[in-house]
Symmetry: C2
Subunit: 455 residues, 2 copies
């Protein structure tokens, strides 16, 4: 398939360049491109052409493509640019969860206009989903699912599915419920098909290893689905009544999103910045962090001013300051990354039992003495040839490096663990601020010890 | 379900503490725990008890649990600790891909012993899978799938599935192939069920939006499956002959693994370190990096020694050095993280078109001048009250900060982009070494400018 794509890529590029959107729309249909590929094409067009292109596409193609657009903001703008009827027609084509996600991107009045143009029952379903926080199970779930009673036979179940199934897309299992719609179990379609036609559904049903409430955080949903290898996870209320289901594809998107967020936060990039953002947005999201960080580093390094006399006496310290600070920062960043990641993927039991801080303390003690010794030996070697370098400086370096690396590692594990216990996303413990702190400790240790032992 | 678990957790903990593995095995069966939960129990036992516990479990429970163990190394050790017959019996229970993954963890002779104890045909299948690199599509795929000819009716297809299907677990679609087993398309089970019984399979079949060759890297497989929302992706040879399939759950594990790797690499932790590793392993994986880094930082900061006279004349520079170096490091880390992440999630077209370097250059120019100006104003303010601080120092700071931030940002985007073009994982461009470089540039700029403008 991919080869085929490459050959037609050139033709598509031509049409993209020249903005010949009607031809482009035809090619898309001839090639029967996947919605994700169409979404890329849309994103490669400028805003004016985007609207024209979407208008030129058949409804079902356009709607699927818009839901696949990487930056949903852009998708919202595009939907808003269409007239409400066309917009409503697009929404009408979608599963209710995708529809809700799209409408979420719209200004309230635009959303209202489109909802008004939708069939009554559909608007009601979507309004229901819009009540849930975007980042919860409720925000991910679709209410479109198959539920049957346990007393049916496999054959009757399949007939029931033939009827219900036409309304629902992409289902992989059938939920078994009681008369008040409480979830009893699920029958995977493959089991249902290979089952004897007379087998009772209740006997085929497996208990569901995990269910979620609509208010559960999406990250938790992702953990459960991947932990239990579920193709879809049912959402139930406090009485076990089946409200909807979340499928693996939505969860994969969540996992990738959450991990992008973690990496960027650790690097001190606010989650607001979308990966494909313009430079203006990037400046807006990063400059505040950097400005705040300029302040904190300034405070850290102003420690050096307390030891002016010492530095003047031993200019070598100016060269050692960044070494001690930097090694602390790097050890701390390692501990931070490992701990944040550990929390992110740990199942709650393991997480509770994990003791990251003590582990990092030990690691810091070992790495610290090793690195401190190397640095000390280097200083001794230099002291042997340079009379202006006191041998005692090696002891200062050893202790400063060791101390800073221990503090950094322990802190790198402690901060995210604490944040997690407090219910805060540990990834906000950006290494940016950890390194500032290790700068401070590093300078204080190095210059303080130097003042005490060398002057 | 989860409440239920919590209540029994205490009882399980008791049995875990006291190592009463036989009772534990009974409880596991009474509760009908999911394999992932059993896997956690195994991991919480010490090695001796682990073996006894696995022996006490029914084969199918034990085998599923072992494949779910987070650290597959540990799973291999456990399997090795069992006698070959029991080991083979466990392997026999597994899908061939899980079986191959487990056997991969064994010493060659152990693997041979277990393969010898397996039924001939099964051993052949597994040996076939073992030929593929663990990190490729071939290493992920299972050869257990359903393939039918297109000329069957839906009803005949379902009958065919009833026969074939008993051998295969967790299938969500049926592949349609020609007489020489070349892939023509796929029919989702839900479509098959709701189809009219007389409909021809060839008409129900959808083209497969993506297929992979067995030698494709697992990261690429993950991208395709998530891009096209596929529950399983077929693996074909160069003639389009169907070799196997990769299901979403294996891909979710890959996505999480790859992203752990990215985060850790960015933080300068070698991929060898498993998240739940002992401190000894952590030291082994981190100390080499840090030692190498100690060397590079030493080189960077030795630049300061070239400017001894300047620093002695203006000790304030000692306090400004970490500011200039640190701000460069942080801006660079931001650019690095965004670029690495962008490459990781971009579909190949977008990736090729993205121009991260120019974008980061612009961002660096803007952030750099802004931060440089802030710092310069601060220096001017200090100069106003401290006669020993020359006003010209503000210009030095402005230019040094600006320059270092521009270099850092550009480099942070350029290095991973280059690595990616060279086919190297961009995430190895650890921020550890980027920051060392920005230290070097920062010191050189600050002290060089100071020497030129202040002396």
């Amino acid at each position: 398939m991919s080869e085929e794509k490459d050959t037609t890529q050139r033709r598509l590029d031509e049409l993209l360049e020249s903005g010949r959107v009607d031809e482009l729309a035809e090619v898309v249909q001839d090639l029967d491109l996947h919605a994700s590929d169409v979404a890329d094409l849309i994103e490669d067009l400028d805003d004016a052409d985007q609207v024209a292109f979407v208008r030129a596409l058949p409804l079902e193609v356009a709607s699927e493509a818009i839901t696949e657009m990487a930056e949903s903001e852009e998708a919202g703008d595009l939907l808003a640019a269409l007239d409400p009827e066309r917009g409503a027609a697009l929404i009408h084509e979608l599963a209710d969860d995708d529809a809700a996600d799209l409408i979420q991107e719209l200004e309230p009045e635009e959303a209202a206009r489109i909802l008004a143009a939708l069939p009554q029952d559909e608007a009601v379903d979507i309004r229901g989903l819009l009540m849930y926080d975007e980042e919860t199970a409720g925000g991910l779930m679709t209410t479109e699912l198959l539920a049957i009673q346990g007393d049916l036979t496999a054959e009757q179940a399949i007939d029931a599915i033939r009827v219900q199934g036409r309304e629902v897309e992409d289902f992989y299992s059938v939920f078994v419920v009681d008369e008040s719609n409480r979830l009893l179990g699920a029958v995977p379609l493959d089991d249902l098909i290979i089952a004897d036609t007379e087998a009772r559904v209740a006997d085929l049903a497996l208990d569901v290893p995990a269910t979620v409430r609509p208010d559960v955080d999406q990250e938790e949903v992702g953990k459960m689905l991947s932990r239990y290898n579920l193709v879809s996870i049912p959402v139930v209320d406090e009485f076990g009544v089946l409200l909807g289901r979340i499928t693996f594809d939505d969860v994969i998107d969540v996992i990738e999103l959450e991990q992008t967020e973690d990496i960027l936060r650790l690097a001190g990039v606010s989650e607001g910045e979308e990966i494909r953002a313009e430079w203006q947005d990037a400046v807006r999201s990063r400059l505040p962090w950097l400005a705040l960080n300029l302040l904190t580093i300034a405070v850290a390094s102003s420690v050096a001013l307390l030891f002016e006399a010492t530095i003047e006496a031993f200019v070598w310290l100016a060269a050692l300051m960044p070494i001690v600070a930097g090694m602390g920062g790097n050890s701390g960043t390692q501990a931070l990354a490992v701990t944040v990641r550990r929390i992110a993927i740990a199942s709650s039991e393991l997480e509770r039992r994990s003791d990251a801080v003590r582990k990092e303390l030990v690691i810091g003690l070992v790495n610290g003495i090793a690195l401190g010794a190397m640095a000390a030996l280097a200083v001794l070697a230099i002291a042997a040839v340079r009379p202006d370098v006191p041998q005692m400086l090696s002891v200062v370096v050893l202790l400063a490096l060791w101390g800073n690396i221990v503090v950094a590692g322990t802190l790198g594990a402690f901060v995210p663990t604490l944040l997690d216990r407090m219910g805060i996303d540990p990834a906000i413990a950006s290494s940016v601020f950890l390194t500032t702190f290790t700068d401070l400790v590093g300078f204080a240790l190095l210059l303080g010890l130097a003042t005490a032992l060398l002057l």
